[in-house]
Symmetry: C2
Subunit: 273 residues, 2 copies
């Protein structure tokens, strides 16, 4: 096997591995920082165990909702909690459809069975829904509601898009994923480029994972702080330290960085240098 | 998939990942230390790309020499040089035969075709042979010599055993691998146990990778220093610092630690805690 023959499933695994190794990434698990309950090994174990679901996506014959459910099931074999749920939501259609255009075609074809499978996967994670959400994952009536309304998985993402930047990628054509891939190529090969891309994405939009946990004001402050780092007004280390101290982790920006890595690797960007 | 259903190929990948993440491991690449040309990402990329060869081993139908060649070929797709050659020499028969007893049966069945495939794999790596070795990998006559003498891969390992502790595992029944697995279970679950096992193995025998690069005296000194760390007479950090400064890396002890992790994981040892 040469690099050119790399399978898309392997490329997705490489993206997951490279993202978690890059450091410092303010507030997130990286090579130099674990959380008490979620450590770098959990992310890397999830990367290894995701292989079968990613290969299923690469075959392009199954259904996306079911494949996301398989990825979540296969990677939950550790005590580190949800590690890559958001990343799978992005990677599975991208691997399935080869690229962003193909992912969008695959997303158009989702139906109610995808929505139901996705909700079952979602219910098995510890990811929080908005408390006032009528499609609450903890409510047994949700599946009935989805079926009654003939909602597709794309409809579910449309429903979640205002409050979730990962879902927003599905319904707006993966603009941040595309932007991230372009940034990686602009910044050049290697690890520092991943950190710079992560930071630039963090400075672009408030991270919705932070919003769900700490509210919109905190997410906006982190976004502005990331901008300050880019402008040389504070160090990335000080932002990292502040995020860790306040338990603020920009998890959705990390998910989008993984998707961006997948795209950039497919377009010739090199992690090796 | 639950943990109990983990495939042997995945278990081997998990062992490779856990070994490189454990720290501090004196002189070796770990979570907190890269070498200039070989970084943690190279080891983890190799872990991802080894999947197919490990699955081939798990099927147990192919030939071991050929599978080692495939593993080396598939994982050389990066600029980090040889990362897991020694680990594959141990893991491939272990995965093939399920456990140490099965690996020994598989090793008994190697023939000249395995030896030839192995030498071709070896020639593609940057691993050094002993300069005076009559089976020098750089000598085109070596393959003729192997064929003329009907040497099996087990014979090759027998030939290398005095100077290579990885080869020695093949011909002596994997005693250090077994010892490492027992140590992991004694030390208990998790990352620190890997570090303690690595250090104990390092204090047990002179690392032959160090011997090849720096000579027997240096390897013996490192062994005694590891003993001092175990006895509380010096810190692991000071030994790590000294090894890094002198470019001493106990690579064969790391290979055996990976094999030990594979065995221990199969016997219920938990990396998660």
């Amino acid at each position: 096997m040469t690099c050119l023959q790399m399978k898309r499933a392997e490329r997705a695994q490489l993206a997951m591995m490279l993202e978690v190794c890059a450091y410092p990434k303010p507030g997130n698990v990286d090579r130099c920082h674990d959380y008490a309950e979620t450590r770098i090994e959990h992310f890397l174990a999830s990367t290894i165990f995701a292989r079968e679901a990613l290969e299923e996506a690469e075959q392009g014959t199954g259904r996306i909702g079911e494949i996301i459910k398989h990825a979540v099931r296969d990677t939950s074999c550790h005590a580190g909690g949800n590690t890559h749920f958001g990343a799978f939501i992005l990677l599975i259609p991208l691997v399935y459809g080869r690229d962003i255009a193909g992912a969008l075609r695959a997303i158009e074809q989702t139906d109610t069975s995808d929505a139901v499978a996705f909700y079952k996967a979602f219910a098995s994670t510890s990811v929080k829904m908005n408390a006032t959400d009528e499609l609450d994952v903890n409510d047994p009536h949700t599946l009935t509601l989805i079926r009654d309304r003939d909602m597709t998985l794309a409809d579910i993402m449309q429903h979640s898009a205002p409050r979730d930047m990962v879902a927003r990628e599905w319904v707006t054509g993966f603009p941040l994923t595309r932007r991230g891939a372009d940034l990686l190529k602009e910044f050049g090969p290697g690890r520092q480029s991943i950190v710079d891309t992560f930071l630039t994405l963090l400075a672009t939009e408030p991270d919705t994972f932070i919003i769900k946990k700490h509210g919109a004001d905190v997410a906006r402050t982190v976004m502005l702080s990331a901008r300050e780092v880019l402008d040389g007004q504070r160090t990335i280390e000080s932002l990292d330290e502040e995020c860790i101290r306040r338990d603020i982790n920009p998890g959705s920006t990390a998910d989008i960085t993984i998707a961006a890595l997948y795209i950039a690797l497919g377009e010739g960007w090199s992690w090796d240098y």
